[in-house]
Symmetry: C2
Subunit: 268 residues, 2 copies
Amino acid sequence: MGRIIAITNQKGGVGKTTTAINLGAALALSSLPTVVIDCDPQANTTGGLGFARDPGRRSLYHGLLLGVPLEELPLSTSQENLSLIPSEKNLVGANIELSEQPEREHVLGKKLASLRERFQFILLDCPPALDLLTLNALVAADSVLVPVQCEYFALEGLSELLDTLARVRRTHNPKLAVEGILLTMFDDRTNLSHQVRDDIENFFGNRVFKTVIPRNVRLAEAPSHGKPIFAYDPDCRGAESYRQLATEVISHDSQGVGEGAQRAYSGA
Amino acid sequence: MGRIIAITNQKGGVGKTTTAINLGAALALSSLPTVVIDCDPQANTTGGLGFARDPGRRSLYHGLLLGVPLEELPLSTSQENLSLIPSEKNLVGANIELSEQPEREHVLGKKLASLRERFQFILLDCPPALDLLTLNALVAADSVLVPVQCEYFALEGLSELLDTLARVRRTHNPKLAVEGILLTMFDDRTNLSHQVRDDIENFFGNRVFKTVIPRNVRLAEAPSHGKPIFAYDPDCRGAESYRQLATEVISHDSQGVGEGAQRAYSGA
């Protein structure tokens, strides 16, 4: 049974798309069939995997709102084992159209079930907003991976996101676990990067991925060539970091993500 | 060298005072000289340790603002190895008077240094506010222990506190670590308690104490008798939970509190 991971942070520019593409590619490189679903009308993941932003092609929009079965939508990418359900700008309208559906937060989750048989990992790249598309992703997901850019207000945004995750757990998806907080754009030479890393690790302990994604120009360039980093520059530091991240994510499978530490609740 | 732990949460009624008294007493029972400093003008910790709220007696106020050396202030309590620096209502004025001091956030920290030789643990019971007294405690402390009541809005308050802690780390005390998040008033029979525990463990992983403090009527009664739980009902579940908490806090000494997990920062 495939695992559904929502990659989310309501802030833009924190590395969601880079992570969706390259974590997906790294999982596929480990021979694990993986599909990345681009839930963002900006369609950056679609473009970054080499597909033109084509409103004529069937996209997640057709699956969500026009009744096309989701299993018909995955496109093969240039990388073996990696598929994509693309986005396009019509998805902007999905927020409004979804709001008129019964159980509007559960539309994506119900349709995704069929993909769990075929793919080991289903990565949902969320839009940079706490909108109905993101809410559908959080309700559909088994766990949430939160990329956090190493910059001054990293923590302020995080606490807002935690409130949202807590609310989703209370209302729609009590099983939603934290896959991990991923530090991105880490610049070893700046004090600020180290300070942010210390803060986040101090507060969130083992909920922070051991892997840290460095600020790396090759990671930034790869999407404009429509390729995952492993096809563009497989030996750069950015590529290495995403291979490590995939290893961590795979290891969570056996450990049970989000399981609380053993407790000594006395007298219970 | 004694360790300074601030017990803080800007919410009232979460178990700060109960924790200051009974964690302090449990540490003292382990033959570790411990002083509890009552930083709250409401003086509940002072009362709960059997001292009348006496504005005539020298208190933390005299140490902070009237130049009395802090090492002259600890009172012996009925329990061996446990001392108290009491509070009284004049401490209300400390917020204003401190604001006129140079380096107003560091007043307590500078004065506390002398107590580190004499006590193994220095517990600061903070007022239920993010005021200048609490700020002084956070700046003085090595670590912060955050009691969280198992109730619906537990997480909402926590994220606000995290923002404050991050700001203190940036501005005044970069070494401030998270001793742990302590779940209090856990009621095994209610879904809500379990839900809150799951949420908090899901987000904060190993930053959450394994010990959970149960809702326990004996813990609630003990302060009105001016006694730690170990003198009032040493065999109740509440007493057992604070013994376990002390064991966890002591074990942090050797492990290094708040140290981030080892990281695989690739290519650094």
